[in-house]
């Protein structure tokens, strides 16, 4: 096809816009990565953006010398793994039950469920509820209230409905109960949808700082995101981390500053997401599509 002059300019313009957009998305990560590998005091002099001026591992060594960070990683990993597994099982079980035409009372159930999508109690009533349930400052506050999501249930519901009825009927003739049909036929057939939901939920768990901030107080339950939140927004806390490092690894800490420690901490928090990102990417587009059919 012959391109006109206007078309050529349009292509150039479009490519330029895309490159600018990508720059805005990638550059902040790059600057922070570079800073986290730079000597602390040297970084404060400014001008370290595209490549480290005085390369060092000290920031990372110092960050990982603090035992609190291991605890924070452990709490976060535990809630991510446990929370995701329970969420997927619980939500998909309910979705399967609702997807069966023979379920009695379905229309009432659906209205009952949909109401919760439009009305909510808000922060304080939720907080008071958690307090009376003993969930405050309890690890279970990360797991139990997040076990079910109406939105994810709707996605799974529309997916389960697309499974051919004849398949389920034939399993029934063979004498399989609903639970066996769910576990042996429906779940394996729904792997793409389940994987997408598991990944969204897992990333949500890993990235959440809201519930830690609102509903927990003890340091032993501090998640990695809340730890980072304190480092990022509270200068005294960052100073404290720096002083801690000076105690634990004095030689390394000399080459750091609160500013570069903060950057190293940011990268260390994001690294797990970046590692699983390629796997994520395979599933999430599919997940959004499944959701969009519903919408």
């Amino acid at each position: 096809m012959i391109k006109s002059r206007g078309e050529k300019w349009f292509t150039i313009f479009n490519t330029f816009v895309m490159i600018v957009v990508m720059f805005f998305m990638v550059a902040p990560f790059w600057f922070s990565l570079v800073g986290s590998f730079n000597e602390g005091l040297d970084y404060l002099r400014g001008g370290v953006y595209f490549w480290p001026r005085e390369f060092t591992w000290s920031n990372y060594i110092s960050v990982f010398s603090d035992p609190t960070i291991y605890n924070a990683y452990f709490v976060t990993a535990a809630r991510t793994i446990l929370g995701t597994i329970l969420h997927v099982l619980f939500t998909s079980l309910i979705a399967y039950g609702l997807s069966r035409p023979s379920l009695k009372g379905k229309s009432v159930y659906i209205i009952y469920i949909m109401v919760t999508m439009f009305f909510s109690g808000g922060l304080v009533p939720t907080y008071l509820l958690y307090r009376s349930l003993g969930l405050l400052d309890n690890f279970l506050v990360f797991i139990i209230p997040t076990m079910f999501s109406v939105w994810n249930m709707m996605i799974l519901l529309s997916f389960f409905r697309s499974i051919p009825e004849s398949l389920i009927e034939s399993a029934k003739i063979d004498g399989a109960g609903e639970y066996r049909i769910f576990a042996q036929f429906v779940l394996p057939l729904s792997m793409p949808a389940l994987a997408a939901i598991a990944l969204f939920t897992g990333v949500g768990h890993w990235n959440s700082y809201y519930d830690t901030l609102m509903f927990t107080t003890s340091e032993s339950l501090q998640t990695i995101q809340l730890f980072l939140m304190r480092v990022v927004t509270d200068a005294d806390f960052a100073q404290g981390m720096s002083a801690q490092a000076a105690n634990l690894v004095p030689e390394q800490a000399k080459k750091t500053s609160p500013e570069t420690l903060k950057l190293a901490m940011m990268i260390a928090t994001t690294a797990p997401i970046l590692v699983i990102y390629p796997f994520l990417q395979r599933y999430f587009v599919k997940g959004v599509m499944i959701g969009s059919i519903k919408g």
């Binding site: 619980f90 469920i113 009305f119």
Partner: protein
């Protein structure tokens, strides 16, 4: 005679046994669904009931039901609070800007992305653009703070080098900049992810229409404007409905990360205010009343948007 009786007896047995199987299946199905209903009762309906404390003087020892009624006193307190005007203004402005800029941005991005002819480059751009969505707001906020830092942020460095600024500025320390910074951050973070749904819609557009438009002599920009955009209008309207019904419900985490004492004047929104008065100062009834006031404003906005949409486009949400 005997034979017939015998066979009907058999049939009866069969009926009861198949009913028993059906009953068992029904019981199994109910046992899958009911735990979810109980879950929602506890974690969604009980807090809804808890909203009552907005109209009461909540006392921890008396509980929600036993606490004395207070009427609208907490609402009055909020409306006469010195923070009232700025908190409401900030909430409306931030959410309004988010809708105004954050809503069309992914659509434009999807349209432009669709015009990339090299599929490898296109996939590359897409991969990059989804990435910020998966990074937490703490990290993303940290990145924004780093870039805008008055001591070693790159933005100050560039502006000073170019002579635009004579000395570095603490961007996040000036209340005037907060809305712009926050909304730009949200747009960049959500751009690629928000575009997925439109990309999907665009891929479903009938290719014959493009050929017809080419024969009619339409250029690429014209095709984008006259073919692609009208074809995805349905998706756009649905997404707009979602966006409007979620209005005032966006942005607690991002605001709290970027907020600092210097920009509080423009960064304190209803959500952050509820958190501070409710959980930090433990004024439970008052902060619940503030939350209820927010919900009322949100409903009013929705009705207003619906009215405007009916006037302008003849189509309403309800």
């Amino acid at each position: 005679m005997n034979k017939i009786e015998h066979s009907s007896e058999l049939l009866g047995k069969k009926v009861t046994s198949s009913r028993r199987i059906r009953l068992r299946a029904q019981f199994e199905l109910q046992s899958m669904v009911v735990p979810g209903l109980i879950f929602l009762f506890v974690f969604a309906y009980i807090p809804m009931y808890g909203v009552l404390i907005a109209f009461k003087d909540y006392n921890m020892f008396l509980g929600i039901t036993e606490s004395p009624w207070a009427g609208l006193i907490h609402f009055k307190e909020f409306f006469t609070d010195p923070n009232f005007v700025s908190v409401v203004r900030n909430t409306l402005a931030i959410n309004g800007l988010n809708l105004l800029i954050g809503f069309p941005a992914p659509i434009i991005f999807a349209l432009l992305l669709n015009e990339i002819t090299t599929s490898k480059f296109k996939r590359f751009v897409q991969t990059i653009s989804y990435l910020p969505h998966f990074v937490s707001w703490v990290v993303f906020g940290g990145l924004i703070i780093t870039i805008l830092s008055p001591t070693n942020g790159i933005l100050n460095f560039i502006l000073v080098e170019l002579g635009v600024l004579s000395e570095p500025v603490n961007f996040l320390g000036e209340a005037d900049n907060f809305w712009l910074i926050l909304v730009s951050g949200e747009v960049i973070k959500g751009l690629g992810w928000g575009a997925i749904i439109y990309i999907a819609a665009i891929s479903g557009v009938d290719q014959d229409m493009y050929e017809a438009a080419t024969i009619d002599g339409a250029g690429r920009v014209q095709k984008m404007w006259y073919v692609t955009l009208p074809s995805i209008m349905g998706t756009i309207v649905i997404m707009l409905i979602f966006a409007i019904s979620a209005i005032l419900n966006t942005g607690f985490e991002q605001i709290l990360v970027l907020q600092n004492p210097l920009n509080l004047e423009t960064s304190e929104t209803i959500d952050t205010y509820v958190y501070k008065t409710g959980l930090q100062q433990m004024r439970y009834s008052y902060s619940t009343a503030v939350g209820v006031a927010k919900s009322i404003v949100a409903v009013l906005l929705l009705l207003l948007a619906n009215y405007a949409s009916k006037k302008i486009t003849d189509k309403g949400l309800f």
